[in-house]
């Protein structure tokens, strides 16, 4: 199976610290116990595991599927997806902050002044300033605006994993149902697939 894998800089596994060989060499999982294999993402799983480098990986059969990842006992990196660079990570983080903005505007009502000011923002800095300027809001509206602040701050820190997560939490708050989280993650996965020209 061909899948995707996020790694830290230098092809290092973010949780184990394992340095992946980048010459196509096969790697076998150390332990055979359940869950201790080599993990990778389908395109739909990508938003849950955002990292610095994105690689295409081949997993040898058998491959098991979990809710947000796939797992095999052997895998090898096929090549780095160079399109996932710092610029696109920032772009993705910003897109997620603006999604949080859209959720907040929907909650507030587009005609109200704080919503208008956030809608007028065309960049993260002005968006953050507009969200922070919103005051004396009812609790629910204040919560929605707080998500905009959080997602914008994270995006300005270039922390795409965090801004995308905040946008998904904001979606749940607005819709009032847990399934909105997965729906927002699906939107993010589509964004990544299209921007990086990935196979679904």
């Amino acid at each position: 199976m061909i899948a995707y894998k996020f790694l830290a800089g230098g092809a290092i596994a973010p949780f184990t610290g394992f340095r992946w060989p980048t010459d196509g060499q096969w790697v076998r999982a150390i332990a055979r116990q359940d869950g201790a294999g080599i993990h990778a993402c389908r395109a739909a799983d990508l938003p849950y595991w955002i990292g610095e480098e994105l690689w295409r990986i081949e997993l040898a059969d058998p491959v098991t599927s979990n809710e947000t990842q796939v797992e095999g006992q052997r895998g090898r990196l096929l090549g780095r997806i160079r399109a996932w660079d710092r610029l696109v990570r920032r772009e993705f983080a910003a897109a997620c902050a603006f999604r949080a903005r859209d959720f907040a505007v929907e909650a507030l009502g587009a005609e109200r002044t704080p919503a208008q000011e956030m809608l007028a923002a065309c960049d993260l800095g002005p968006l953050l300033a507009a969200a922070r300027a919103a005051s004396r809001l009812p609790p629910f509206d204040a919560e929605m605006v707080a998500y905009v602040v959080d997602a914008s701050v994270r995006a300005l820190e270039e922390n795409a994993g965090s801004s995308s997560h905040t946008a998904a939490v904001a979606a749940v708050a607005l819709r009032g149902r847990a399934s909105a989280f997965a729906e927002e993650r699906a939107w993010q996965a589509r964004w990544l697939s299209e921007r990086l020209a990935l196979d679904a």
């Binding site: 820190e157 997560h165 847990a178």
Partner: protein
């Protein structure tokens, strides 16, 4: 503290589970939730990194690196710390 879904681990739970996580004994589902939290929570990601670094560093200290007096002081410090705990 990071906003989260009710099904996701809270930062406080990361602190409670870190020993099991680092020892590799967390059940699969729990470990997945643990690692997903690290993707979106910079504070906890830094905390886990620091704990790993600490374990790696302490693991390199040979048993005889401490003088008997230093060992005695450490044992006393731990005993008095434990005694102070409610």
């Amino acid at each position: 503290m990071t906003a989260r879904m009710p099904t996701e681990l809270a930062c406080g739970e990361i602190v409670q589970l870190i020993t099991d996580y680092l020892e590799g004994v967390l059940p699969v589902a729990e470990r997945t939730r643990f690692e997903q939290h690290l993707v979106f929570c910079t504070g906890c990601a830094n905390y886990v990194r620091q704990m790993r670094d600490l374990l790696r560093t302490v693991g390199r200290i040979p048993d005889d690196a401490l003088t008997p007096a230093a060992q005695r002081d450490l044992v006393q410090a731990f005993q008095s710390w434990k005694a102070k705990k409610p």
